[in-house]
Amino acid sequence: MKFLLIPVLFMTLVLNAAAIGVDKDRLQDPAQEDRAQHIMKQLRCLVCQNQSIVESDAELAQDLRAIVREQIIAGETDAEIFKFMTARYGDWVLLKPPFNSATAILWLGPIALLLIGGFLIFRTIRQKPEQDVTRPLTAAEEKHLKKIMKDNN
């Protein structure tokens, strides 16, 4: 059951959360609440497994949601809020990791692969027709061909 246990373990978390999770302190201004939601979706619930703080009702997630909303009201920009969070919890809190030496492969890898693959395709396509790939017929095939020609006649 281990295979299913992993999702199930955190699903129980989710589910319990689902059973309670209604924020009473949502922001009055819908535009501000939208911004809050957008930011919260990008912050990891650190005590959960692969969940953002929007989808969790762990206490920590509730606290972080409250902090995000407070800072929005205080007039902080998105960047400032992310900065605050990473200063406190490290890059781990970001579900979209920032670009740095440790994440270079993650961000540049796809581009590099596309370039390499594109080059390989380019090379394959540019194969010159004079690279003759037809080989001479074998004796048996020669015979078969003759027979066919004869049949047609």
């Binding site: 989710v14 579900l95 492969i105 596309l114």
Partner: protein, 664 residues
């Protein structure tokens, strides 16, 4: 007694598998018919005994024999019959048995239907299939024996997690496994071809139905899991880029690429080594999906420590299979001569670009999933890679892929006329542009990507229809003529049309639900209301409900138009929160009202005291398009699978169909 028999059958099956692995391979090398012929009976026998072993375990579940350790840990005497049966494969040991039983079944099918295959190829395929099998049998017998007995027999079993007692999850794992195992056949064909040093259109033709079969199973398995998450988890989410989901998505991406590149091998006798490589990679991902996820290594390195024996075995097995096949590939792939030549603008190029983007997508998922682990191991930096990353990268990667899907099917083999295609697509392109612009206008002020994506989705949708129309010469030939052409379309091309069309429908659904989902939540007392989108939800009543093994709180929520008359009730929603008796688990049974325009998804939370309840609602535009799209895609796969020329048992492959084509 039955369990001991099961164990015994398992050992017998292993014995036959060893025979199946060794003799046909030697026979093929020496040209000995007698040794090669051993492959078939061994494959039948292996399947027979693995089936008996599987039945023995099923029997132990059915009679709730709690002296068998697996049964005691995962079953319960009062569990409904359906879940007793699904419990057989719903755990580590049992799922391995399930896997190997289907591995043996597919091997036996190759033996039975492969009469049209060259003898040596069939022998080698069976042998490779058996080698993979040996790994599984040994893993089971040495580290995860499903027939282990307990000396202390418990009076009652532990039971199955109530969350998993859901029809969606009964069928989700077996379909995934069938997909994984189906890819083993493709893998065996690839390895056998490498050993033979020969890949030709006939080979591609034999491989195609297996790839398609595995791909259809994988698709169904993934979508079932997604559907279950949508209905059962109460967040209205259907894809979270979770490691477990990613593990099934990677083989799907590669299998999709393989499906397309095999067509190039078949029609044009080129792209061979790439296709072989894809076959190897697809199966490697299947193995990763089966083992690594189960062992929990992706989520935490520590999972290894809890069970070092299994972990070590898995690592060695993976290294042998994956490493061995790559080594063989490196040594032998130069034997595979490229055949046909083609111009830069051609069907071949289109399919290559399709392959490029699908493979890079698979690599992104792989690395994204592994990154937190690697980052921790090599840099000592804890890192997260979640939906914001994957969504961003995928939405960029998929644009060129879908553009290729728009053009590809219109391009001719060898050399295509792009101007002509552009001309033909003019009307379609115009409508797509209009759709994109209209979306932009209607959602003005919002993000621009969804508008672009809607345009691209509509473009693909119409282009796939246009392609069909031009194939049957609609409006160019008399209507009756076109209709008879339509009837004569080969099923494989129906597969392509439906596959691409369904993909477009699903894509539009994805765009709608990811871009414009709205959410509302409120703590409400009886009689209070809240609004979401164009709806007004009124909490009429909350009643307790008793189920067979749970108690629930059920909300009665009246849904009416936001600005409508007071009695303009559209429907009543009955969301529930269930608390199970046997375990401290609460599940939400959200109530979903589905229309083509969008799903209204309503969830009730626990009491907040003073007769007030938390209610959460989502409006998810076009959500149902995604499910409909996937159903169309699967239908396309099945129809293509039924194409006479490509059937698994197709006796002569190419020869037979040539005869048919030329028949008067």
């Amino acid at each position: 007694m039955i369990a001991e028999l099961g164990h015994y059958f398992l050992v017998l099956a292993l014995g036959l598998t060893v025979i199946q692995a060794i003799f046909p391979m030697i026979g093929a090398a020496r040209g000995s018919d007698r040794m090669m012929m051993l492959g078939q009976p061994a494959a039948y026998g292996q399947f027979f005994f693995s089936l008996l072993a599987f039945l023995a375990l099923t029997y132990s579940y059915l009679i709730s024999d709690f002296s068998v350790s697996v049964v005691a840990r995962n079953s319960h005497s009062l569990k409904p019959l359906l879940y007793k049966i699904s419990g057989v494969w719903g755990n580590h040991e049992g799922s391995l048995l399930f896997w190997v039983m289907f591995l043996a079944l597919f091997g036996a099918m190759v033996a039975y239907f492969g009469k049209g295959l060259p003898k040596s190829l069939r022998a080698r395929v069976l042998s490779v299939q058996a080698m993979v099998g040996i790994g599984f049998y040994l893993f089971m017998l040495l580290t995860s024996n499903p027939f282990d007995r307990l000396s202390d027999v418990p009076f009652e079993g532990n039971g199955l997690n109530p969350l998993l007692q859901d029809p969606g999850l009964v069928f989700h794992p077996p379909f995934l496994y069938l997909g994984y195992v189906g890819l083993s056949v493709v893998f065996s064909f690839a390895i056998a071809a490498l050993i033979e040093g020969r890949v030709d259109p006939a080979w591609a033709r034999w491989v195609r139905p297996w790839t398609l079969l595995a791909w259809v199973f994988l698709t169904i398995g993934i979508v079932l899991g997604s559907w279950w998450a949508y209905y059962e988890l109460g967040w209205g989410g259907w894809w979270a880029w979770d490691p477990v989901e990613n593990a099934s998505f990677m083989p799907w991406l590669v299998a999709t690429a393989l499906l397309h590149s095999a067509i190039v091998v078949e029609k044009r006798d080129t792209l061979k080594s790439w296709t072989i490589l894809l076959a190897i990679i697809a199966f490697s991902f299947s193995l990763l999906g089966t083992f690594i996820v189960r062992s929990g290594i992706i989520t935490s390195v520590h999972a290894f420590a809890t069970d070092p024996e299994r972990g070590l075995y898995i690592l060695v097995f993976l290294a042998l299979v994956i490493g061995g096949s790559f080594l063989l590939f490196a040594i032998r792939s130069d034997k595979l001569q490229a055949g046909g030549l083609f111009a830069p603008i051609s069907r071949e190029s289109g399919l290559m670009i399709n392959n490029l983007f699908l493979s890079v997508a698979a690599a992104v998922v792989l690395y994204g999933t592994m990154h937190p682990l690697l980052s921790d191991a090599f840099f000592g930096v804890k890192s997260s890679v979640g939906p914001p990353f994957f969504n961003l990268v995928f939405s960029l990667l998929m644009i060129p892929l879908v553009v290729t899907m728009v053009y590809g099917p219109h391009l001719k083999w060898k050399r295509a006329d792009i101007k002509g295609v552009n001309q033909r697509l003019m009307a379609v392109t115009g409508i797509a542009l209009l759709a994109g612009l209209m979306t932009f206008y209607v959602t003005y002020g919002g993000a621009i990507m969804p508008a672009i994506w809607i345009g691209i989705g509509v473009w693909l949708l119409l282009s796939s229809l246009q392609e069909l129309a031009s194939r049957i010469k609609l409006f160019q030939a008399p209507f009756k003529d076109s209709m008879s052409r339509l009837r004569r379309q080969p099923r494989s091309s129906w597969g392509m049309t439906l596959g691409h069309f369904g993909f477009a429908v699903g894509l539009l659904g994805i765009v709608g639900t990811s871009a414009w989902t709205i959410e509302a939540q409120k703590v409400m007392g009886l009689g209070e209301d809240m609004t979401i989108g164009d709806y007004r939800l009124t909490l009429k009543d909350v009643i307790p409900v008793a189920g067979p093994n749970y108690t629930a709180v059920r909300g009665i929520i009246s849904v009416s138009p936001k600005n409508g008359a007071e009695n303009g009730e559209i429907f009543i929603a009955y969301p529930e929160t269930r608390t199970y008796v046997s375990s401290p688990i609460t599940t939400t049974e959200g109530d979903v009202k589905t229309t083509m325009a969008g799903d209204l998804f309503i969830v009730i939370g626990e009491s907040q005291g003073q007769g007030r309840w938390g209610i959460r609602a989502y409006y998810k535009p076009m959500q149902v398009w995604f499910w409909i799209g996937t159903i169309i895609v699967v239908l396309g796969g099945l129809i293509s699978l039924s194409d006479r020329r490509y059937r698994i048992g197709s006796p002569q492959g190419q020869k037979a169909s040539r005869k048919m084509k030329h028949a008067p």
